[in-house]
Symmetry: C3
Subunit: 429 residues, 3 copies
């Protein structure tokens, strides 16, 4: 994965255009890709695919000396900057000058694709010192040679065939120039995942989707057949060491089964993890699918926040590859638990003789949890939701429950027609 | 409004009788009134219209000297006192003597219309000093020449014609002798409101109702046609400066639309305001209509509490007329928002491209609120309830939403048959 | 009750066997009993009736001297200990040696009927001193002459005939050797209750059930006709002085009417009491019936916790008989309130004229509670649940409501078919 991130990092990948296309070409050499084209001007919902943004040169001179130079540092120019040429005062320049308060020695990653303006960036420490402006007064010569022209936005998918045509979509956005963790960490994670999954290993056909964030997933959702998609997992920023552990950001509808199995997958890994509600922290392509007008549950795995976020300091050398592997493991466990899940049906009457099935523990709490687990079976709940509700481990509890299943005390009922069913019933409330 | 309050204040207006009738006569010179008569003995629900209470004289003498004299101060006698004549000890007098702990220099406003007793009032400071009784021991001569005799209780309405025959009732109780804020403030507020509303300005026909508190609104509700009333607003005590601002006391059923629009009206006024659940503070005529057996949503606007409440210190000179005007404005905005309200229907798929419609903000919270506003449209919620749920301003948000409506992305569905519908469905739960 | 507890205490009553049978024989002399027999090996749900456990002798010798001697102190041996004979080291002995941390001078009551092991007990103070082991190193001679052999487990019932064949079951488990409060307190409470109830005093036929805890009630529930049982009350540990008062542990389904009436019964007694959710503290035979596969609501009355719990210090001399009588009173009031309960139906419109019916109070809270009580009648709630919801006393409120009933303002609707109805509707959620 290290090689992938280091190779993709220098390619100046905006929503569409040369840098983005170069990244796709690179990935295509590693795994099969199917490319979907969306020319500039294509309408997708309330959005319109923008023109391609081209930079030929950009600099700012003070007293004849380049103090900002795109060719030396492409992060000196905000992404999507309009062209501009002229002489401005220091105060006029200041209105178009961006810096990061949190990382005063870095260039910020700024993005103005939809709200048009020109702009350049500098480290804060070159602009202000102790609250005082140190950027000298006087005239600044600004030259920004950029252009917007029609292009083609590309979304790419790689398909891992499953036993059925039910689908799972895994998203990693491919844009954001010169940002390693955001989001080449996820891109590398998914490319590497291909090696670890055998065809027909899972019931679901898994599609990896590489696209420009938000508008790419909107375009995919609006134009492709998504009727067979059971759920979406977006990976966004998954390569920083996070003391609190991986964050699972849940789907819009809180009672989705995907939330339960993802939660159980993280909990079963033994290290710390975090949970948050839909869009409470960051949001990536999963939020597009959760929109009630599309109504496919989507979750996000991330290791956000990290201090280099959206600055020139988000570089490949800071990537924590162990964390990327943990996220990859969590994704695969989530899929496995989702597919193994079932509805246990109680066949016995009266309290369970726990000690007969090796479930009795000396402490009272676990016995109570098990009894409540059994009581709640009356309601047709899935195994995963029972494990979540009563704080039980997925794999260990399944092993114990298996003894009851083998003894005919509990039977197994498959979960079928889940998405179709929901589509119908949801409209009613 | 000042003149109105000062003129009405000295009229000794009980539930029924001369003082009350004088107040009605006065108002009739300012605005048209329709009078409804309820003779003593009329049964309205579990209530019976009481007899008229007449006072000819009342005094208490100690050693031949009048220490309490109704003719000098009519608040020396409790409202509704039975007649009494005789000599009593200090301790016997004490059982019939009322004072205010909170306002020790004032006479309390006491009311015994339904639980029969005789009683007089004094400032607490003339009875007790530092916890010690200073009222001298000895014999007190008591003379209370009152009488109960059949009379006629009157409820008066003024009608402001609307475009339709759907009704809104605005209540201000007209009884409570020698109390300016409670409730001549509201009486003046409604009389003045007539000047500010043009016929057919609103869809609803607005009826102002002046009546004795509680029993007057019960009588109206039991005997008049209220099937066209959409909601009731009671104004009770609206003329003291309240640091916390106007209090909106909501209807019994918490999910009524009137609660939402009144809340939005207050919030839109830019000053502080308070909200409380049904009957949590004071309660006035709105509580009669909220009773599930009548089931018309009613709210209360008030500036209560104030320290002169129910004492001889509640006088016209302490009225804050700016506050009365604010309440009047809140009433009209509430009606306006109620009538302008509608159900927005989402017509677009996928996330909204907020920047295209000028809704995008730099801060994240407002963007999220807007997105949730859109998600929630799926549930057929009204515009007003969406504004309340997501903390958005009624007028500003309507202006923004209008751009989406103009672009065909959202359509407008009227709210129809609300009350009739509720009547039917409510009975089921 | 004192005599009963003192007589039953020395009988070594395990789940089944001679000591248990002796206790039954004793009770049979006081009240009629019907005995149900369950031979060892009988399967009841996932449970199997165990063999009878017989002890002939048991001791531990150190240097030829008996340091543990069953014949001197039968609590020296854990209940259900397997036979064992041999010489063990101090550390080997320690693995089978039980003591109580909370009561270091007492022998613990230990119970290993289902998880087979041998074991003896000692006061902790003879094993450890200040964290140091004072039990000497060396060889210990162990002799445990016990045997498991087929026997007959017995459940006994006493029936108090009611006006109908609807049933209430009152449980007191009869096992636990040498434990007075746990549970001879409840056994005595029920035996004594027989004297206080006349035949056909209640609508319900009341059955007192004496049985081995858990497995006894499971056996009864699985083999007898329980279709007419409306609810179950288990009494477990009801004879210690509890500063916090009697604890009502509620049924699994929180909205059962039995919870409300039991709550009102305790509240009406004027002393402190406690409430807890199902199985939050201890659990006894009521939990068997609450199991959703059986689905009969059951509550527990207890005075637990107490410090002598499950030690040799739980002796007859510590029993608080006043508390047992309070629990007995609570049981009878619970039954009375349950049977007297009804659904009040509102017949009047508009607010109630409270003072007309002597319900008006000076304080505001009680008036509000009464009004809400009336509002909530719209929902077909029972009288008991209305009292609970609005904090009103059962008997006093019934007296007040009776005036409204007598005046035709409220009518009385019986609660019928409750259990049958629930059985049907519950399956749906």
């Amino acid at each position: 994965m290290k090689q992938i991130i280091e190779d993709l990092y220098p390619m100046n990948a905006c929503l569409l255009g040369e840098g983005y296309d170069n990244r796709l070409e690179y990935i295509k050499k590693l795994i099969d890709l199917k490319i979907y084209n969306f020319p500039s001007g294509t309408e997708v919902g309330t959005w319109t695919v923008p023109d391609e943004w081209i930079v030929r040169d950009a600099w700012v001179k003070f007293k004849g000396k380049k103090i900002i130079d795109y060719k030396k540092n492409p992060m000196s120019l905000i992404v999507g900057s309009l062209p501009f040429s002229g002489t401005v005062t220091r105060d006029e320049l200041a209105e178009h000058l961006h810096y990061s308060d949190e990382m005063p020695d870095a260039h910020p990653f700024e993005f103005k694709f939809y709200e048009k303006d020109w702009g350049v960036t500098m480290p804060k420490n070159k602009v202000l010192k102790g609250g005082e402006v140190i950027l000298k007064e006087g005239e600044y010569e600004v030259f920004i040679d950029t252009e917007y022209k029609p292009g083609v936005m590309k979304v790419a998918t790689h398909t891992i065939q499953g036993k059925t045509d039910k689908e799972i979509l895994l998203f990693a956005h491919l844009d954001h120039p010169f940002q390693a963790n955001d989001n080449l960490s996820a891109v590398a994670c998914l490319i590497d995942l291909v090696k670890k999954v055998k065809p027909k290993q899972y019931d679901h056909t898994i599609k990896l989707v590489f696209c420009p964030e938000t508008i790419g997933s909107i375009a995919y959702a609006m134009s492709e057949d998504i009727s067979k998609v059971d759920f979406v997992i977006a990976l966004d920023i998954v390569g920083n060491e996070s003391k609190e552990g991986i964050l699972l950001q849940k789907s819009f509808h809180t009672n989705e089964r995907i939330n339960n199995v993802a939660h159980l997958a993280l909990r079963g890994m033994g290290s710390g993890y975090r949970q948050a509600v839909f869009r409470s922290g960051i949001g990536s392509d999963e939020y597009v699918f959760n929109d009630p007008s599309i109504d496919i549950p989507g979750i996000l795995f991330t290791t956000h926040p990290y201090k280099e976020y959206h600055t020139s300091e988000d570089t490949p050398d800071k990537i924590n590859y162990e964390m990327i592997e943990k996220v990859q493991y969590a994704v695969l466990k989530t899929i496995e638990y989702y597919e193994k899940d079932f509805t246990p049906v109680r066949k016995f009457k009266g309290p369970l003789h726990r000690s007969k099935y090796g479930i009795q523990t000396k402490g009272k709490q676990l016995n109570l949890s098990w009894d409540y687990f059994i009581y709640a079976m009356e309601h047709g709940k899935t195994f995963s939701s029972l494990c979540v509700d009563f704080g039980l481990n997925y794999e260990h509890t399944l092993e114990q429950l298996q003894r009851l299943i083998d003894d005919g005390q509990v039977s197994v009922s498959p979960i079928t027609g889940e998405r179709t069913l929901k589509k119908t019933t949801r409209k009613k409330h």
